[in-house]
Amino acid sequence: MKRSRLGPWLAIAIGTAYFLIPLIATFEFSLRMRRGEYSFEAYRVVLADPRFQASFGYSTLIAIATIVMGVLLIVPTAYWIELKLRKIRPLVEFITLLPLVIPAIVIVFGYLHTYNSSSLIPLIATPRGTDLLLTFGYMTLALPYMYRAVDTGLRSIDVRTLTEAAESLGAGWGAILFKVIFPNVRVAVLSGAFLTFAIVIGEFTLASLLDRPAFGPYLQLMGANRAYEPSALAIVAFIVTWACMGLIQIFGRDRRATMAGR
């Protein structure tokens, strides 16, 4: 019995070491900015850097815009597919998976070609237009995660019957969507939102090639020119990502507890 358990435990130990050792090493290195002692000096420097605040603030804003626009696009789309167009679900699933197989650099070059200043929709001619384009790009990158999260949420409720019940009570599409469907897929939408946030905060390719002052390019810039600060930034980025994952877990647990009561 003991022998048979050794293999799995060994695999877990190797896997944990593979992920944790670089993380611990990075953290340990980030504490060594002051010679001969451990300190959070690198974190203080990073957090006090106006460029950090600006880039992190910018990325947060773009992430929120991506989430809002993504939710407004994806929830009604996934709802309509679940309600009326189930036959095309495999096609939609295929389309939503495309961002996973098409590299971000291909997407951004496509954007630059299609929306350049001499095109019909010259989005990159102005900073705000480019911000919008960046948001659309992030929506595309987050599509596989957001769509799957929302679709899973919608499949867990009886969308058709709830819609019909609301309709029979006099509700129009707006009321059905915002009073019945959205609240019942709230947890799924939040999961998708946190995943989107985590993706957007650290994204480099789109932001760099569209020349936007986002957190990803700032991380790269610091990494190329400083020693300890990039490690501190990497830990900060990890904490943000993990916080998002933790929030997904918390909301997910809340949902499971609710379901268990049924």
Binding site: I157, D158, T161, L162, E164, A165, A166, E167, S168, L169, G170, A171, G172, A175, K179, V180, P183, N184, R186, T258, M259, G261, R262
Partner: protein
């Protein structure tokens, strides 16, 4: 003018016919059941009345107004679903208030109306609970209150008791009927349970393969089934095959023994084979009175079921099943014994259509 008029309703899915030749006129305050097996078109018809399905042809008029072109939320119809369909994110009170809020009724009206509805379904203390905290029966009561809160002109119930256990089903069907009578609301009830339909309805529409097989009161449907389908679907029935001897006088021959009917046989020719329906409770064992038909046969099987003894009597080709009450003074007959069964001419129903 009737309250609900459905004329020549038809629904096709590609080459497949879902419903056709569906005509019915329902009085205000009437309780009508659509009864039939799965796939007979009863739910499709209900969904067309609700507006969830668009008819391929035909008209649906509610209180004189053609509703075919209207969306479900414009028809002022209350609907109760088999799966309850309560909104999981709302409390019981919020569920009941939903339609009233959508209709933008003032808060001063909504609160007392919700309280009244909860009182009506005998769950006044559960307004703050969420649907998952209720039993199936309680959820269906709430669904009923929600459907009725907005005072709809028509109530549609789509197999509302199917997901409940037998005991709750029996008590809830009584409650639904009482409420319907009290409110006087015109109601269409879809079910595949003949007992439910017989117990609750003013009239029953028996459906098969998208068509109406028979429309009538529970008494008519049970005692005067028109077709073999209705006879076999509603209740337990003996179906005998017999030859028409004299259609005008209502005389038939079953396994070389004459059977008299209470009336002439409609649309029948002499020598034609027709099916006769006979309820087990109309048949007695060992009684040969001049005003009753009597058939001689052999006891083929006796099943002792406690209070009831089920006896099957074999004739030449036909078989009759009958139930007698158990009596300690009279032991049941034994297999192989000869027996006489009798029944009144009025209890025999000749089914439509010649038999092959």
């Amino acid at each position: 003018m009737k309250f609900l008029e459905i004329e020549n309703l038809r629904k096709v899915y590609g080459a497949q016919v879902g419903v056709e030749h569906f005509d019915i006129a329902v009085e205000r305050g009437e309780f009508i059941s659509f009864l039939g097996p799965s796939g007979c078109g009863k739910t499709t018809t209900l969904r067309m009345v609700a507006g969830f399905e668009q008819p391929s042809a035909g008209s649906i008029r509610i209180d004189g107004r053609d509703v075919v072109g209207l969306r479900p939320n414009q028809r002022n119809i209350g609907m109760v679903f088999q799966s309850y369909a309560l909104f999981p994110n709302m409390t019981v009170a919020q569920n009941v208030a939903f339609g009233l809020k959508i209709a933008k009724r003032p808060e001063a009206e909504i609160k007392p109306r919700v309280a009244e509805m909860l009182q009506m379904i005998k769950l006044p203390q559960l307004g703050d609970r969420y649907p998952y905290q209720l039993s199936g029966g309680q959820q269906q009561r709430v669904a009923l209150a929600r459907a009725l809160a907005g005072k709809p002109q028509l109530l549609l119930l789509d197999e509302p008791l199917s997901a409940l256990d037998a005991k709750i089903r029996a008590s809830l069907r009584g409650e639904i009927r009482d409420l319907q009578r009290k409110l006087g609301i015109t109601t269409i009830y879809v079910t595949h349970d003949q007992e439910e339909a017989l117990a609750m309805s003013d009239r029953i529409v028996v459906m098969s393969e998208g068509r109406i097989e028979q429309l009538g009161t529970p008494f008519e449907i049970y005692n005067r089934p028109r077709t073999r389908f209705v006879a076999s679907f509603v209740g337990t029935l003996n179906i005998l095959r017999g030859k028409v001897i004299d259609a005008a006088k209502g005389v038939m021959r079953v396994d070389e023994q004459d059977v008299r009917l209470a009336q002439p046989i409609a649309n029948a020719n002499g020598g034609e084979t027709r099916a006769l329906a006979l309820r087990p409770e109309a048949v007695s064992l060992g009684e040969a009175r001049p005003d009753r038909n009597a058939l001689q046969g052999t006891i083929e099987d006796v099943s002792f079921l406690g209070a009831i003894v089920r006896i099957r009597v074999r004739f030449k080709d036909n078989l009759i099943s009958l139930d007698t009450f158990n009596s300690s003074a009279a032991p049941p007959p034994r297999r192989g014994e000869s027996a006489t069964v009798s029944f009144a001419p009025a209890d025999v129903q000749v089914l439509e259509g010649a038999e092959a």
